[in-house]
């Protein structure tokens, strides 16, 4: 090593750098930014710009056909937060979300557990549960809309032949939500089941074997081994289901497609995204629609944060548990070791 101070070394090298060296240095310094640039440029174009644009629109009395109107500040937000139709749409969104997410995840777990068994023609069954996912939502909506038709639909015909009263799927609130949730479930259950199945297959078989040796039955093994092991995947499925559920549009839009008021005759299954669309493209109120879109963004971010802390809590819980267990084991080992050969433990710990 020489005794040159870092400062002088830097100054001499700087003046002596050839173009090639400088290019090299620039390469090291700047090219990483160039490599990550495509994402940020794309994000700026299709993510950030629309976001900012929407925000600007939401501050104007913007008409769809006539363009920007007067600057109104946050008036649009105030109007929407006081509008009963806005709250109606939020209620519908959450109602349909709960009606679909809960049964869907339960069914998906069950189906995944069944597919996880040693079935004959495994691939056939696994592909079959994914089949509904291939059908476009628009086609699903048209088929279910016909099935749930009030006067001519399959479901009401069946109810009628059982001597029951027809259900007003397209006029009553809860039946409408139920019918739409059915569509969502039909389409997404198989998809979620496959993801959960993948997680289940990653559970080590020796866990099941030792549990079986300890006398745990099938059901006990499912609840005590399978479910805890797939928890992280389960949370992932829950989060994607939440995001999808809060943006549900096609199903309610096409459920009563010939109706001029979107989301049912009385807006009884008008979800928030549908409400935004109606506000913008039927009522021409672009500014207010943009404001609702932003409120929805805030709601989704809030729910995302809740999800984040929830999953973080669970993750830390798990590490806590494993750390505690490791510590306990070590303690026991030490205690046993101290009694017998303390030296060997010291060595082990050194390692």
């Amino acid at each position: 090593m020489t005794t040159t101070s870092p400062a002088t070394r830097a100054s001499t090298s700087k003046s002596a750098l050839s173009l090639r060296q400088r290019l090299n240095r620039a390469d090291v310094k700047y090219s990483p930014y160039v490599y990550v640039a495509p994402f940020f440029i794309l994000f700026g174009l299709v993510g950030l710009f629309p976001l900012v644009y929407t925000f600007v629109v939401s501050l104007n009395d913007w008409d769809l056909l006539k363009g920007a109107g007067d600057w109104v500040g946050f008036d649009n937000y105030a109007i929407e937060l006081a509008d009963p139709w806005f709250w109606n749409s939020l209620f519908n969104t959450f109602s349909i979300f709960l009606l679909s997410a809960i049964p869907q995840l339960i069914a998906a777990t069950f189906i995944a557990a069944v597919l996880d068994q040693n079935l004959r023609g495994k691939s056939f069954w696994r592909l079959s549960v994914l089949l509904p996912y291939v059908v476009t939502p628009a086609a699903v909506a048209l088929i279910f809309s016909s099935i749930f038709s009030e006067q001519y639909g399959l479901v009401n015909n069946l109810l009628g032949s059982l001597g029951l009263d027809p259900v007003l799927w397209k006029h009553d609130t809860f039946p409408g939500h139920f019918a739409i949730a059915t569509m969502v479930n039909w389409r997404w259950t198989g998809y979620n089941a496959l993801i959960l199945l993948a997680a289940m297959q990653a559970v080590p078989t020796d866990l099941y074997e030792s549990a079986a040796l300890d006398g745990a039955g099938r059901i006990r093994r499912f609840f005590s081994i399978t479910l805890p092991s797939i928890r992280p995947t389960f949370i992932f499925v829950l989060i994607t289901a939440t995001i999808g559920g809060l943006q549900i549009f096609t199903e309610p839009k096409l459920f009563d497609a010939t109706r001029a008021t979107p989301g049912g005759a009385y807006h009884q299954f008008e979800t928030t995204t549908l409400y935004i669309w109606n506000m913008a493209f039927n009522q021409d109120r672009f500014g207010r629609a943009a404001a609702i879109a932003f409120i929805l963004l805030v709601i989704i971010v809030l729910i995302g944060l809740v999800n984040y802390f929830l999953s973080k809590g669970i993750a830390t819980n798990e590490t806590k548990v494993s750390r505690r267990r490791a510590a306990k084991r070590l303690e026991r080992h030490r205690a046993a070791g101290r009694a017998a050969v303390p030296a060997s433990i010291e060595i082990q710990q050194e390692r």
Binding site: L64, L65, K66, W85, S146, S149, E150, Q151, Y152, L168, K170, H171, D256, T258, R259, A260, T261, A265, Y266, H267, N278, F281, N282, Q283, D284, F286
Partner: protein, 437 residues
């Protein structure tokens, strides 16, 4: 604007008046289909306008032109489609516009090509004058060529009438409803007689009856000065109560508009009358056929309408300024609305021509698929007779929105029987305040 050789050539082909001749001066190879550049024209229509069969013919006559047509199921959906594209781009070269949303269109009439630049003044005598008047904006620009108008007659099911002990022949039915003095009171009275005899509903749902009544008024949802005309309008309110009474008496079948159980309601005797503007005849035929029926299902068309002459709907072909080929688009729109083509679309869909020459054409007054379907009713003659005395009503900017989102929910509640007349009328007024102001 610069004109390519191709546009000039096409201009000659279409032989539209003087402008084309001037342009052709610089082109020596003008002639049918000699255009050297392929042009694709997009056109968006809705419902059953009866234009679909004509595109192939135009393409055959103009080999350089390809027509890409989109047809949207209902006028309401077409309105949404237009608004979306008006705001964000993507409008076709030719956009069909319905009379009901002409008010919205006129708000932005400067984004439509002034067809006078392409010879509209030379051909405007082609149409009934009020049709041209409707398509003229406040600055005198003509932005649309009229396709059809919607004079209304009464569709009825002869078999069901007969079963109820009512006259079932066209003259008898016209007489039953009061002939030239037909009134809505009489209409509901006949409905009650029918209901008493059969226990079945008389009409499919109240919405179309309401539309017909509103369209019949000298001023509809708007006054001529552009102000709203709903709250405190006793004429409309009283009719609403009449509809409520009729619903209570079991006259409405509470069917879903534009759905009708996939057409089944048209063939299983659910209801016996249906208000029919010309273009609706094609809808009825389509619904009956979708429901598995045919000409023997009993539908017929009578030369009578409660409350006198009424026009519901009718459309225009416009050329948005965003079109890259406004000239060719205007020529196609011109061609599609010529007498011969309007006759063809009448025969296909019952779209009654707005072109005078076509109205008296044997193709309209004579036999067609449609007359066969409607028990050999001379539908053309009947519609011509129903068109007499029609007055164009002023349509305000939110006419379509009022029709669909203000009246719609209240009317549904009324038909479902979940709200009585006064309650649903109050709902209507409340919604009006919420949505329009």
């Amino acid at each position: 604007m610069k004109f390519s050789r191709r546009t000039a050539a096409v201009a000659v082909v279409a032989s539209t008046a003087s402008l084309a001749l001037v342009l052709s001066g610089c082109s020596s190879d003008g002639g049918s289909g000699n255009g050297d550049e392929k042009i694709t024209l997009t056109i968006t229509t809705f419902g059953t306008m009866g234009l679909d069969g004509l595109y192939a013919q135009y393409e055959a006559d103009h080999p350089n032109i390809t027509i890409k047509a989109t047809n949207i199921d209902t006028g309401g959906n077409a309105l949404t489609d237009w608004k979306t594209k008006q705001a964000s781009g993507g409008l076709p070269d030719i956009q069909a516009v319905e009379e009901g949303w002409l008010g919205s269109v006129m708000e932005v009439s400067d984004s439509f090509t002034d067809l006078r630049d392409y010879g509209a003044d030379d051909i405007k005598d082609r149409w009934v004058d009020w049709k041209v008047g409707q398509a003229t904006d406040p600055d005198g620009r003509i932005i649309g060529y009229g396709t059809d108008i919607g004079p209304q007659g009464l569709c009825y099911n002869g078999k069901l009438f007969e079963a109820a002990g009512l006259p079932s022949d066209r003259e008898g039915v016209a007489e039953l409803f009061g002939g030239a003095d037909a009134s809505w009171d009489k209409f509901f009275e006949v409905g009650k007689t029918y209901h008493d005899a059969t226990g079945k509903a008389f009409y499919d749902q109240s919405g179309f009856i309401w539309n017909s009544f509103v369209n019949q008024q000298e001023e509809g949802y708007y006054k001529k000065d552009g102000s709203l005309n709903i709250e405190g309008n006793k004429t409309l309110e009283n009719f609403w109560m009449q509809l409520a009474d009729a619903q209570k008496a079991g006259l409405s079948a509470n069917q879903a508009q534009w759905d009708w159980g996939g057409g089944q309601a048209f063939v299983d005797g659910t209801f016996a009358v249906f208000v029919c503007p010309g273009w609706m005849l094609g809808v009825v035929k389509g619904q009956v056929e979708a429901g598995g029926g045919d000409a023997t299902s009993g539908w017929d068309f009578a030369d009578v309408f409660p409350g006198g002459a009424s026009n519901w709907g009718g459309s225009f072909l416009t050329v948005p300024t965003s079109s890259k080929h406004p000239k060719e688009a205007a020529e196609l729109a011109d061609w599609l609305t010529q007498a011969k083509q309007e006759v063809a679309s009448f025969q296909a869909a019952g779209a009654f021509p707005s072109v005078l020459e076509a109205q008296t054409d044997p193709g309209v007054t004579g036999e067609s698929e449609l007359t066969k379907f409607f028990n050999n009713a001379p539908v053309g003659e009947i519609l011509a007779s129903r068109a007499e005395g029609v007055v164009a009503q002023f349509k305000g900017p939110d006419d379509a929105l009022i029709q669909e989102q203000v009246v719609g929910p209240a009317r549904t509640a009324l038909d479902a029987g979940s709200a009585d007349g006064p309650t649903s009328w109050n709902t209507l007024i409340d919604t009006l305040h919420q949505l329009i102001g």
